[in-house]
Each structure stands twice: as C-alpha cells, then as structure tokens.
C-alpha cells in the first residue's frame, strides 16, 4: 500500500507514571528519525500541537481508574486505526491495581483527608478490558527498543518481533548462572515474560516480574519450589503482587496464598 502522507502517531495517557511514553523521548539516537517517518499528531508530553484524528497508530499508556477515563478510552479507540498498549499499567492495570485486592474507599481514606470526594473506580483495569487492543507491549517500564520494533512493524505492515519466552531464556542467552537453583534469591524469571534482557539477574538479584506473566506460566510449580526453600505464604503472596498484580496468572497465584 502506498502512503500518500505520513502516518499519524498519537500517544495517550491514562493512570500511569509517564515512564513508558518517556521511553519514546529516551530514544535519543532515533527520535528525530522516528519523527521523520510519522506525523506526531497527538503527544502532549512532547508537543503543544494537536492534529485531528483519525490516527494510524495510537500508543496508550496507563490503566483505567476513573469513570471519565472509562469513557475516554472509547473515544481513543474510535479515533485509532491501530491501538497499541504500552507498559504494565495499560496491559495489566499497573501497580495501582493493588487496590483491586482491597476496598478502594479504605485506600482513599489512608491517602486523602476527604475520601468521599475521590472519584475513583473500585478497580484499576487494563485497556483490553474496555476496548479491542491490537498489540500489547509489556514491561514496567517498556523496553524502548521493543517500542521502536513495534512501531516499525506496524508502519511496515508486518508482525512485531517480540519474543514471548520467559526471562529464564534471556538469562541463558546471556550466560548468567541461574540464581534460583544455586544461591536461591526469589526469582520470578521462570514465569515472567521476556523483554528486559534478564536485567535483574545480571545485577545479582532475582526477577521481580516487571514484564508480567509469560504465556502458560506455571506459577504453581514455582511457588512450590519456593515454599520448599522456606518462603512463607505471605512472602509468596507479595512476590506476585507488584506491577503486574492483576494480570491473570499472577493474580490467581497470589490469591492462592491469601490467608
């Protein structure tokens, strides 16, 4: 298909820390090249200029946590030909989904003096719970090179090359000695989606699941292994309840260890 004009790129923010959209600005060597290939039509963190939709590619950061945002995501979807979620908030509800395991009113009263006026949904939910998502890029934060790969793939009409293996495989590729079977710090590597390049194991600590569960993650087996090493139920629970706590595999496993 011949492009008559540059494809329009939009970046949207929901509840998040801004880190994933910042990844685009962190592409110091590639940013100007990207800007040469697309029209940056809506990216408030970077530009005052806003061009009208429809947008060829929308990158969506953040989770849905307010009634207003639950409406707004439908407008974004309607204005977007391709909608890609970036990061753990958008794909799994983010760290703010820890509220999903509690009463949100109780949470609000801890932080805010006047909790009755806080407009917040009971749950922080991923974008795909609300609208159709074309592609989900994981990570807390995302890997900026994977972001460039996804953008490049959609601009050229091909499938993104984002491996869906576990962090364990990345460790093996880097030749890092397995901590889990040697000295044994808690490591979520066997059940966590690849993408970080086995960052934590290379810094002598266990994976803590930034990229969320990989497909068919065998969390039960990992928990049994950990329990055999003396980990308490409470520690098991917290290990699955971080930035991807509401992703199904981690949610179910953590609930299995609730008292």
């Amino acid at each position: 298909m011949k492009q008559q004009r540059k494809p329009k790129l939009a970046v949207w923010k929901f509840a998040s820390c801004d880190g994933c959209q910042l990844s685009l600005l962190d592409c110091e060597d590639e940013l100007l090249a990207v800007a040469g290939e697309v029209e940056i039509a809506n990216f408030p963190e970077a530009s005052r200029a806003v061009a009208r939709g429809p947008y060829d590619i929308s990158l969506v950061e953040g989770s849905i946590t307010t009634p207003h945002d639950a409406e707004r995501i439908h407008q974004v979807r309607r204005a977007s030909k391709v909608l890609i979620t970036i990061g753990a908030c958008a794909t799994a509800g983010g760290i703010q989904a820890l509220r999903n395991f509690k009463d949100v009113r109780e949470f609000a009263s801890i932080v805010y003096a006047n909790p009755a006026t806080i407009e917040a949904l009971a749950k922080s939910t991923p974008i795909a719970d609300h609208v159709f998502v074309d592609f989900q890029l994981r990570g807390c934060p995302i890997n900026k090179y994977q972001l460039l790969e996804v953008l490049s793939a959609y601009l050229h009409g091909r499938k993104p090359n984002i491996p869906n293996m576990s962090v364990c495989v990345e460790c093996k590729q880097r030749g890092i000695v397995c901590g889990l079977v040697t000295h044994g710090p808690p490591c979520l590597g066997p059940v966590t989606h690849a993408g970080c390049g086995a960052l934590c194991p290379s810094y002598h600590r266990g994976c803590f699941g930034c990229y969320g569960p990989k497909e068919a993650a065998n969390t039960g087996s990992l928990s049994a292994w950990w329990a055999g090493k003396g980990m308490t139920e409470r520690e098991l629970l917290w290990n699955y309840r971080n930035f991807n706590a509401y992703a199904e595999a981690f949610r179910k496993e953590s609930e299995a260890h609730e008292e």
């Binding site: 923010k13 509840a15 998040s16 820390c17 801004d18 880190g19 994933c20 959209q21 910042l22 600005l25 962190d26 110091e28 060597d29 940013l31 100007l32 800007a35 940056i40 408030p44 963190e45 970077a46 530009s47 005052r48 200029a49 946590t65 307010t66 945002d69 983010g94 760290i95 703010q96 820890l98 509220r99 509690k102 949100v104 109780e106 949470f107 609000a108 801890i110 932080v111 805010y112 003096a113 006047n114 006026t117 806080i118 407009e119 917040a120 922080s124 807390c140 934060p141 970080c196 960052l199 934590c200 290379s202 810094y203 002598h204 600590r205 803590f208 930034c210 917290w238 971080n242 930035f243």
Partner: protein, 428 residues
C-alpha cells in the same frame, strides 16, 4: 481587557495531566486554577504492609522521569529509621546515580520541553528543523545522563539496582571510566547550553519568593542536608511536618503545600541555586558570573539557564566521582530492621522530595508519607499566574495564554508525581 478568560484545557510539555484557567473580571484576576486531573494511584496506601526492602522499587513507579529521587528519599528515610548510615564509595555512587538523573531530566526539560517556548515552536521536533545542532546536542546530553543511570541503575526508567544499605551490584571501575570522555564532552556541551539559554528572551517578571532547598556543609545538595530557606527556615528533615502543611483549596482540586504561617514557597533549581551558589564548582560559578546570572535571581523564566548550570555541575561532579572511584568490598552495608520512624529528604531535579516511613520490628511498613516537589510548587505556580496575567495584560489572549503555559513550565512540573498524593476534591 475588562473581562477575559485564559484557558489551557490540557497542558502540553509537562509530565502528567493538568490544566490552567485564569479568569479576569473588570480588569482584575478573579480566579486562578492550576488544575490537576491526573487520577490518584494511592501509593501511600499500598505501601502499608509491604516489606521495607520493597520501598525503593515501589516508590520508583511514582514517576518515570525522576525514579531515582523516589528511591533515594526512600532509602535514606528507611536507613534513618534503622539508625544506619551509608558512607564512603557507596554514598558516592548514590550521588553519581542522582547526577545521572539530574542530567537526563534537566536536558529533557531544557531542550525538549522548555526551549521551544522561548523560540516559538510547538515542540522540539519542529524546533530541530531550525536548530538541528542544539536539539541533537541536547539529546546526546540527555543520553549521557541516561547512560550513567543504565550503568549504575540497570536502566534509565525505574532502575533496579538501588537497595536499602547500598546497591545489589557494584559497577566495575572500567564500566564507569568508559564514560569519562563523554562526560568531558557533556561538560562542554552543558557550558554551551548555559551560554545559549542565557541569550533567550526572558519576560520581565520578578517576585520575592521564599526559596526552599537542602543545604549541606560542603556539597551542592543532592542526597543530604538541612532544609533551609532565604527567609530563615533551617530544619532537619524530621521536622518537616512541623513546618509545612498541606491545605485543601476548594478552587484547585488539589492539596497544596504551604509553609505554616507564611504560605507559598518555591523548590527546585532556582531555589537550590539561590541558597547554594557557593557550593557549585568554581568553573560553574565562573560561567554564571560570565553570563551575569548570580543570586538573587527572582525571575522564574530564567530557571532554564539555572537548569543548564546545574547540568554542568552534575557532569563535573559525576566526573569527579568516577575518577576517584575505588569499588568497596561489599555492594551494600548490612541493615537491621527495628521499630522506628525515619525521614528522608533529597533534591529531585524539580525540588525537595520528602518521605517518612514508620516501620515495624518485622520490617513491615506501617505508615508512609510522601510529599513530592510539584505539590510544593503548586501554590507558587498559581501565584505566578495571578501576577503574570495583569502584568502582561496588553498581550493578545493567545500570546498571554502561551505566556501562562510557559510560566507553569518554569517549574518543570511533574503532575503524575504530585497527583498520587493530591486529592481530586470537589468544593465542599
């Protein structure tokens, strides 16, 4: 201009979701709102019950631009609670990591977020067509900061190497010395940035602010110091809540920090510079004198130049630390949990960031309190808008609106940070 309305429904080139609204009736400013509609995320609530060792990783997620600030305030507060003190090379490495964050955050703000205002562009990408060398230099300067964070922290956003007591892994000497050439380049480029930003057109606007920053006996403040101001404040971080309060302000939908009895104050580069000019390196001071910018500087639009001076300082400081670095024996010192409360206050790129944690004997966090810099600057941001609109009343509305936006960006506001502790309250 009798009746006028300045509205920016979605502020661009800031971090997070905010808006401004100024209403003028009969020539007088009636209503100023720096609105924050970013949804709350309840960090202080879900820190309760977590193990203290998780605090640096969890609080980093408050902000993608200044995660190191959150990690540093968290570890200092918790170490304080446990009566531990991290010194020597580990302390230097923390300072080095923080320098990386200052460099990347300041370069981002100077070149990508703020400079386009002064030069009349919608964004840096459009600006790059006319200023290709400046934008390219700015991006490479930012990259030097990010590379420091990559080596020390593992990655630039939400680094994974910071722990209570020190680090998980120490950098090898050569991993750091590899950066020396680029830091030397970065010092030159940040000096160029200082000269370049000093030639921008600054709106004529001054105000006698109360500046609040850390003050250390010998260093330009990053991780440690007393909290001082130009109006007589001089306290330890543990006394913060005695002197500062957060107010519900009906019209602003947010909690605003104030100095008790005195009101609005300013944190960030302009405040640090004002209170710590004598702690900068001689090269940075000489350059500041050369361009004619020394304290007192009470024009907030000039904060872009001060950010450039601080970037140069951070590059020089990083180089100094790297040159003297000898890896210690252990990546972290042992810490022992005890039931106590600890306080931490460090200088995020945009100003002081206060943390307090109460930890139980089992190492579980019982209570957490976090006051980010943008919450503290909010009231001064509104004050500036209220004063600027009448001062520049002769401008057409579109230009005046842009001037207001630019004034907000003077503070490099981090709305995502602020909001996670601010309310979205309706007027009671």
């Amino acid at each position: 201009m009798k009746n006028r309305s300045i509205k920016v429904p979605y502020l661009a080139r800031v971090e997070g979701e905010g808006a401004i609204q100024v209403r003028v009736r009969e020539g007088a400013v009636k209503d100023v709102k720096f609105k924050i509609f970013e949804p709350p995320r309840f960090f202080e609530a879900f820190l309760r019950g977590r193990h203290y060792s998780e605090a640096p990783d969890i609080t980093a997620r408050i902000c993608g631009i200044c995660p190191v600030a959150y990690q540093m305030s968290a570890v200092h507060a918790i170490e304080g609670a446990f009566g531990a003190r991290v010194d020597g090379p580990l302390r230097d490495l923390r300072r080095l990591l923080y320098c990386g964050e200052w460099i990347e955050s300041h370069a981002l703000h100077i070149y990508l977020l703020h400079a386009p205002d002064f030069l009349g562009y919608e964004d840096a990408i459009r600006m790059a067509k006319d200023y290709p060398n400046e934008v390219r230099d700015g991006l490479q300067l930012k990259k030097v900061g990010n590379d420091l964070m990559n080596v020390l922290g593992g990655r630039e956003i939400h680094p994974i190497n910071v722990k209570v007591g020190g680090f998980y892994r120490l950098p090898k000497k050569e991993e750091l010395t590899e950066l020396i050439d680029r830091l030397e380049w970065a010092i030159d480029v940040s000096a160029k940035t200082v000269r370049w930003t000093s030639t921008l057109n600054f709106p004529e606007y001054e105000y006698d602010y109360e500046f609040v920053a850390l003050r250390h006996p010998s260093e330009y403040p990053l991780n440690e110091g007393r909290i001082v101001s130009n109006k007589g404040l001089n306290i330890d971080a543990s006394e913060y809540e005695k002197h500062f309060a957060e107010e519900h302000v009906g019209h602003s939908n947010a909690l605003q920090s104030v100095l008790k009895d005195r009101g609005a104050y300013v944190v960030g580069p302009i405040a640090r510079f004002h209170l710590n000019f004598d702690r900068l390196t001689s090269r940075v001071r000489a350059l500041a004198e050369e361009i004619g910018l020394t304290p007192p500087c009470t024009n907030p639009f000039k904060s872009i130049v001060i950010r450039a001076l601080e970037t140069m300082y951070a590059c020089e400081e990083a180089l100094r630390i790297i040159r003297s670095y000898e890896p210690p024996e252990q990546p972290a010192m042992p810490v022992h949990a005890r039931a106590s409360t600890g306080y931490g206050c460090t200088e995020a790129p945009r100003g002081i960031l206060y943390h307090r944690y109460t930890v139980g004997v089992d190492g579980t966090i019982r209570e957490a309190r976090i006051v980010p810099p943008t919450a503290q600057n909010q009231k001064s941001i509104e004050g500036d808008l209220a004063r600027l609109v009448p001062a520049f009343a002769s401008l057409p509305t579109e230009q005046l609106t842009h001037r207001c936006e630019q004034a907000v960006r003077n503070y490099d506001p981090c709305i995502s940070c602020a909001t996670h502790f601010l309310t979205l309250v309706n007027e009671a």
